[in-house]
Subunit: 325 residues, 2 copies
């Protein structure tokens, strides 16, 4: 099996690659080829027995998408994209990368005339306030960011290309991925991770919103699990509605802080400093608080049960089990 | 006031122009300039006191959109588009005209840096089966045609460009417009008009679906009314959800035939011949049957109350009150 991963240098991309290399197979088929692309050079996968090609590629550049699928990968994990904060600040870049890049990939597949499986990472940012208490799978698409708009448009394209039988698409609407390892990125949701990651590493973290802000989270480990599981689903299982909200832990910022206190103690939780940020508050206010991921759960997608579990996953996967107390 | 109409040579375009010329004003402002474009030359409006420019323009061609808005029209009625049947048969043309053409128009406006009002004709084809009994305004967007996908994408773009303050957009989801005058077009919904129009003109009409097919209709007169009313709405009235389902008469094909019998007699109704068509049946089966246009009604949009009224509007507006009995 040949797998293409776009956005391969990103956090989820790297974790997905590590998981695929460790598993050695996908859907019961041996992985013998990996094509890894991103706008910066992806790392060569360590310990992979098959052939791995890494290259710099911006799918929105002329010819890049055609090049990316030239060897007809069987499965494509399309993770590449500009994050929410950046898409809001740079309108043109957001549309170019998130919309034109994705459309170029779908068009290249259509023109090539073969039918790969395409797993697309969408986002709960496709939903926009005002919300009902809980967002069901059939909640309408009224995004309140350019990022959410671009994701919603790509979902629609993916569904139409699937319906027309050009490819087998599945879109997974990720909740906020938390705890993100490494440095903060430009995502408006970055603080949700920062207030856990920084204190656990002995550093101060800024909290730009109030304790009452409620949001839905899943760990990077769970996100990789969503992607792998999505690749296993058939057209018959999915039906015509191929874009699915993923499950996660719904909790408030206050509950996040209390979970941190339970798992890591008062001293660690005391490293959170409040510094209100209006842009972040405005963006986050337009996001769904609770996701009713019934369809995804029925289809076998799983996430953590509590925010404590999410913190523990971070400590195990990123900190070798150690906290700076 | 300067008004631009795209798709000006089309049926709704011509009726809208006639209405605007007759009214002489829009939102209380005198109309002194009309720019009329289409892929075929639009007719010069008859009896218009102001300046009227007509030209051939395909918005998806390089530079065409910039040219179309060069004189900064205050209000833009964007009606241009490829119909549902054609967009399903010619995938590339549908996306080029319906998506790229609309996006080019929005981009030209953004780059020009002025803020017109843009009224976009969307369609109830943005909804896709399976449906609940009645489609509320917040029903999600799961179109089952490429046409519906393109309309849904353009709605999302229009909403984002409005939110970003590049323009004042409003999208109106038209029900099936019935009775369409003139010759059949390539819309899959064409027969809904044909089975009324042809018999009233003394000709046989083909009916490709069964009596039980339910659908929502509004007359061309009502559609023009929607457009004019949409142009009067403010951002405050609309709120963030600028795409609205329009009201109409929900009835079955059997009820349409009975209404024709009531209004025009047995002989006229006897001119309908059943000839099942699988493509039309499949497309129509994916459409909404009943639209709960509560928001639109609350905002003052009005349509006919019965299908008899729709037939009478056709006889009055198109046949000079005369039926071929």
């Amino acid at each position: 099996m040949h797998i293409l991963i776009t956005g391969a240098a990103g956090m989820i991309g790297r974790k997905l690659i590590a998981r695929l290399v460790k598993d050695g197979q996908l859907n019961g088929q041996t992985i013998d080829q990996l094509t890894l692309i991103d706008v910066v050079t992806p790392e060569k996968p360590v310990g992979f027995a098959g052939m791995a090609e890494t290259s710099i590629s911006d799918l929105s550049s002329a010819g890049a998408a055609t090049q990316a699928i030239a060897k007809k990968p069987d499965v494509i994990f399309h993770l590449a994209g500009v994050v929410s904060g950046e898409a809001e600040i740079d309108f043109e870049k957001g549309y170019r990368v998130n919309l034109d890049g994705t459309r170029a990939l779908l068009e290249a597949i259509r023109v090539a005339g073969y039918k790969p499986k395409v797993i697309f990472t969408s986002s709960i940012a496709v939903y926009g306030a005002p919300f009902s208490d809980s967002i069901a799978d059939d909640f309408h698409l009224t995004p309140l960011t350019s990022y959410g708009t671009q994701k919603a448009i790509c979902e629609l394209l993916l569904a139409d290309y699937t319906r027309r039988d050009f490819l087998d698409g599945v879109g997974i609407r990720l909740p906020t991925i938390c705890v993100r390892p490494g440095k903060p990125n430009k995502a408006a949701s970055g603080f949700f991770s920062g207030i856990i990651r920084e204190p656990l590493a002995g550093q101060e973290a800024l909290l730009p919103v109030s304790n009452t802000v409620r949001h839905t989270h899943a760990s990077p480990r769970a996100a990789v699990g969503f992607l792998i599981h999505a690749a296993s689903l058939t057209r018959v299982q999915l039906g015509p509605r191929i874009n699915l909200a993923m499950p996660g832990v719904s909790c408030t910022v206050g509950e996040q802080v209390e979970a941190l206190r339970r798992v890591a103690g008062d001293k660690v939780a005391g490293r959170i400093r409040r510094e209100p940020d209006e842009l972040v508050q405005r963006i986050v206010a337009g996001w769904a608080e609770r996701i009713d991921a019934k369809r995804a759960c029925d289809l076998g997608f799983t996430a953590e049960a509590t925010f404590d579990d999410i913190i523990r996953a971070h400590i195990a996967d990123e900190l070798g089990g150690k906290i700076v107390a």
